[in-house]
Subunit: 340 residues, 6 copies
């Protein structure tokens, strides 16, 4: 089985049920998620031996986070136990014209207060082919950025392919700081993943003629952004998701990939949304899987886009779909007919 | 803080969860609501010192109704305690071609059996700028109509602005009776709010060329209705909501306002509905708030319409949104993108 | 009261709540359903004295299945008690591009292991006007196919009208076996019901120019299929449902009927789906009811289609709607406006 | 199958889940129950053809009440449909030192506003052996008391055995009024059932030396009460339940019966309570069933007491136990060992 | 209405439903509580005008904490809004031999990072008779201890009675630090409340001959402790709760009070526990209320003990009982009989 | 890490929530469990590298069973995938005098239809110290009994310690058949575990003077049984659980062990039961763990008994407790005081 490693934070996600607002909630659904953990679960679902690296407290809430990963087949043996708390995010699901809302309560989490000594990358990368992180990980603090850099260097030494989802979070750091830190890390990255805003937020690279709020997407603009990213950092692949936000309930979805030579655009999907969080991560995981398996470029972008389209129909951060389901949709069957 | 008072009935709302029909229900969600209470909660959410006046039994179900208002910041000190029961309405949520259904069980409620002695309007109106009621309140019985008249007179003496949502309910009284009683009360009213049917049901004023069931809306017809209402009763403002009912799941939504001189039409919204009940009340509250705050006429109708558009995405009668959220939508951002 | 009998299997349906996938589920909603049971409940809801015939174990799970029918007014006195288990099906509700999924666990159920001695058709058919079964019943095993044949013969002797929904299930038998067995049974059938695939699966009769996956429906093709079915078996009526599958969340829906002379097409509906299972059964029940009541052909197909359109908004297998509701929709009011 | 009829009110019971207080509740469990309906369900569970007579509104809440009875096999064909509302009672479950609390909202219910014309006792009593009502029924109003009297007379003419549970409710009528009305009705009653307070409340007959609040029970006192009741009204049987209230969570339970000659005392039970409501009704049903089946006096009182002991472990008003389960406990096996 | 103020932290309480362990939980019940907030709610329930002082973030989770207090009538106008997070505690309910478990996640909460400028005690204490805090408040940090000291001085200047529940929390500070800080604060305290361990943990004052784990309670030992506390700090009243821990499900409960002259012991209760958290706070609130109302010493200790006995039957931190209920139990009726 | 293997069936457990009866249930809690799987989870919770061996279908319900084990750290790599169905058992929780009820629906499960080729015991036993099965496994069918025998022989060859819980199930086989098959298997067993009935049911070895139903336990009788078992099969250890069934809610619990020389009796516990199923399995797991860790005999029996005492407070089949918790109780702290 092919091995992959992802590194980052897994948080406790607390969400009112259905469409209740925070101030109406008497219960919270308690699941766990985070950019890199979501990717690890997806890879495990596709049959990859995926390991997630983080630090979590020894108490039961930390254990529950570990168990949420084990349940879906992720290898958790490289998770360091210690520190004080599991980061939390509160999620309120939007509908129609009312947007979803996220309240973060992640400061002081075990991973945000981790040190280099917490991780032995030589052991972690034993037999591994792929390493993935996102822009959230180094944003957790200078200490974590350093650990991330250490991981990248260790991976590079072993010829492990490195992918990074830019994933800019303005609550965690400024655009300037993000640009500096990510600029250094991206030197080690092979495959760069971004959504329609990240390239601009992190590196000031703009997609021409695209008004995200209005849900307009301009293909030529994205090609330009992908080429700029590739040229600046020498990525072997740049993939960009193209979300058209009609409302909180309905989105258009597509993606493109540039491999330094050609531009590949996926089919587009009109999605009725069950749970939008983790949409980008599911795309990244699809891209990683199909690349690891040696798919053709067009098949890679179709697989990644179909995988993330399906994610929008799944409750929770984790994309609970299998290879057959993704392939069926990527192959063109979007009719949603009952499978008996 | 500006003060406003609303007067009417708050009922226990019993609704099967999700899309279950009444005869399938093993549990009922228990919330509280009613036209004027809904307006009070909205005003409190917008930062107005809103007081709700009614009568409720002393027992725990009455107390729970009081608490539902206190929780969201409504002043409940003018609620008289006594009488036998809290009115109830059962609500079954519709979907697609199946309409929502309401079964009323409100006869004999404390407010419906209240007397003039239960309310001291001099105390209630101390420092108040605005008084609001709907056509449901006087429809509860002749005694309540009289109390309502007394409140209107007391308000008028203090130069309190009075608004009324016509809100015709055919289970409570005939069109003829409604026309008589509302005709008298409307003499005191400054701001009249109505939906696409009320003017016709209560006062026989028809919107030309509009077939409500078919979801067609004719602007010229509504202008005519607004003008007729304004001319007959001397309202300083008439506002009419324009609902286009595509199905129980999808509605178009817009509104217009006439200030005796000009007609102002809001933007239109295509809504995917979470909970349709209280839609009109949230419009009235938006209108009252933006008028109290001195908004320009076009901003008033945009604020009121955006507020009520958002209400359709909120579970329960109460419109749990804040000023910033309404302004964002009224300002044109309907994309529903996640707010992190 | 007019009497009807249906014969088949009722299963325990276990479904994760909302849109959770099987592997996320910590609870299952437990309801009961099955093609012929669903028809019986619909008929009872319409005021027909409907009796459901099956075999169920004596234990409490068997009793719960009986109770689920009694609750909605179905006569259960002809249900034989005995055998080992209630058949089960697991249902995962799809959304958007993700299809619903059914996992069957029905082998060895009491009805699948029943014998001729378990049913006394003379008693069962006392005073009955209509007998209905579907292609699922004989597919449960040769023993059940024989019982079904016995029932058909007994019904025919009493001049009871017999309807059959072809309802092909590839997990239960091959197309070839289905064709053989159903071919014999259909000789006794008066009214044949089918969906867009059944005629092809069971009898090799193809609808020209129709790509079901793509959601395209071709009227001329269906007319041809209906005529072929009618010609081969001498059905007095053939009715075919025409589902256009946009996604798991949205379907178009219509139907047609051929009475040996004319073709009648219903209005079409764009449905937002709450629960798709039992859609075909609700159509059959609407067809049987309106035929029993002597409706005109066009009214029959409109009633049956409107009834099944409404089913898609109801949780569970059973179509919990009444005659007035169906007629209102069949009559053209699809606006979904709140019924107070 | 032996036939029995009970007559009274069935109410919608709204109860917060678990041990939540009314003012904490966001949902209510919605079940249905009432003294005589509870008896009818028990009898149906024991295999008696039990019919429940009442009046219920035509709307869906009325229908849900009907369905709650049909589900458990009660014959509902003698229920008259009409009137305005289903009576409601709110139930808060107590624990330890905190008592359970009931808030009634039953005024104006369909049965409370019924007239003699609503019931045709000749049809209702066709083939019936036993008629049961409780002191709640005539307490609903003079009209209902008259209907009750009419029923008693019709039953007596047909030699139907009549049982009555005194069941005094001080919210419905005064002790004096109860004494007058019940005194007349009891002239027709054969079997009288009472709890430790009823005889005193309704007829002023006191159990000597018994302090109910303190949980003390004095056998000699009860014998005296039973004899007084029997002597005054000529009952063939008087049965009294003996509840020792340790706390809201733990009760002692026993009962006695007097047949005009001998006194029979049941075994005593220490019960850990799941749901106490309907405890008395389940005793009555056990008594009726075992008497109808011709049990020996000691077996009757053991059966009735064991049945009602089990009721205290069942959620809801209805006693969902079968004859085998009652007999097993009455026979002495109270160990609660898992039945595999 | 008499006015009282309490000061401290209110936390989000996240508890798995029923008896599920943390690692089994898929949902958390979300309520709010904390020593001083719990006292404020109790006082409001008893009719005191109770104000709770704290600092909470401006976001929706902070608002939900505010609303949880408003709902039950607590005045929240003195709550400062700002800071980053709401403190959290996770609660796992124990049963039988398995203890309840609390995981704190409260570091960095808004109140723990508050400054003196956040509170204007002159305004807060306007018209106030009583000020209450617990040993948890100063344990949140030196800054909060200073604010607490400032509050005590301001209260003392206005002759406001000050009560303090020692409430030692070893996760927040050492015994030594607690002794120092509390020693200074206690100089301002009039009424001291403690459980069976606090006096020892905070001040090294031991109850002779008492083995808490074994559930033994020795009256003479407690008298000695109370006297030592009173003598050292000059408290006008010392009250100590006496918990006998049989298991997580069953506790014995009693309390004593020393007023510098006499020792008063309450009745004892055997409690079957619904929710044990907040038991001590409900005792404090009962003591404060009954003292404010001028009860006799024995009545004070009976009221406080009965109030806290009832708390053990209530879900959540808040003691949702009224004066009548407490008096009924304090008066000796512990039978738990249904209140209709 | 020490390695252990258990072999048997894991079933889907469907249980109504709380104390609802089967016929009241609208939802089933869906968990997974079975004698040997329960032991594996316990061992994993104690830090043993525990592997569970079985066969499960490839579909999602099979996957959910696998995930339920992975979630709690059990190694599932030796689970063979294939076959048709996951065995099911329905569980109704009893209370007080009403016993819990189990309805099995396990015929035809994947493991019951497995063949020798499905398992490679050489691979499975790599590095393993302990092998455990129960009397349920061979009772599933002759094929499974043969696989079990093969496993025993393979284990014996590798000097793996073998434990067996007799666990007689009368629904699966007769006492005679059980005696024959188990008699052969027990020749390979080192550690024999039994409850108070198994020795009699399987081998006809009676505990003198013990009436299980009456909850009486006689120490001398058990010593005699243990000695007979040990003498007949040469077990190195025989452990017997001693359950005293007061009611479905309250049990006494203790155990004894005989090591061929001495008899060791544990402390006794009075348990208030949350979930009784898996009580015996948790005892076995405690015995295996403490034996593997080299505990002294008295400590072994105390550990095993305390572990299983705690199990009775845990929802679900799996005993979700850790070593520290068990040791604390075994060490004598049963007070259930809150752990903060």
């Amino acid at each position: 089985m092919k091995k992959a490693v992802t590194f980052g934070e897994i948080m406790l996600r607390l969400a009112p049920e259905g469409y209740y607002r925070f101030i109406q909630a008497e219960t919270f659904g308690a699941t766990y998620g985070g950019g890199e953990a979501n990717v690890a679960v997806s890879l495990a679902n596709y049959g990859i031996d995926a390991s997630f690296v983080t630090k979590l407290p020894k108490h039961e809430i930390g254990q529950a986070a570990v168990n949420s990963l084990r349940r879906y087949g992720v290898d958790t043996k490289s998770i360091t136990r210690g520190g004080d708390r599991v980061g939390i995010y509160f999620l309120e699901k939007g509908a129609s014209q009312r947007p979803s809302k996220v309240v973060y309560d992640r400061a002081g989490s075990s991973i945000a207060t981790a040190t280099k000594e917490d991780f032995n990358w030589d052991e972690i990368f034993e037999g591994v082919e792929w390493f993935h992180f996102t822009g959230i990980t180094p944003a957790l603090g200078d200490n974590v950025a350093e650990i991330c850099m250490e991981a990248c260097k260790a991976a590079k030494e072993r010829n492990i392919t490195i992918s990074c989802d830019l994933n800019y979070r303005n609550k965690l750091w400024s655009k300037q700081k993000a640009g500096e830190v990510m600029g250094e890390l991206c030197k080690y990255v092979d495959v760069c993943i971004a959504n329609e805003e990240d390239a601009s937020d992190v590196f000031g690279i703009k997609a021409a003629n695209t008004d995200i709020t209005a849900g307009k997407v301009d293909h030529e603009g994205y090609k330009d952004v992908a080429k700029q990213l590739s040229d600046r950092f020498g990525f072997s692949k740049v993939a960009i998701t193209l979300r058209g936000s009609i409302s909180a309930s309905d989105n258009n979805w597509a993606a493109m990939m540039y491999d330094g030579k050609e531009y590949y655009f996926s089919k587009g999907y009109k999605m009725h949304i069950v749970d939008r969080v983790g949409g980008g991560d599911s795309f990244g995981a699809g891209l990683i899987y199909s690349t690891m398996m040696g798919y053709e470029p067009q098949d890679i972008i179709e697989y990644a886009t179909a995988a993330s389209c399906l994610k929008h129909t799944i409750e929770g951060d984790f994309n609970q779909v299998g290879v057959d389901e993704v392939k069926k949709l990527a192959g063109g069957d979007a009719s949603g007919r009952v499978q008996r």
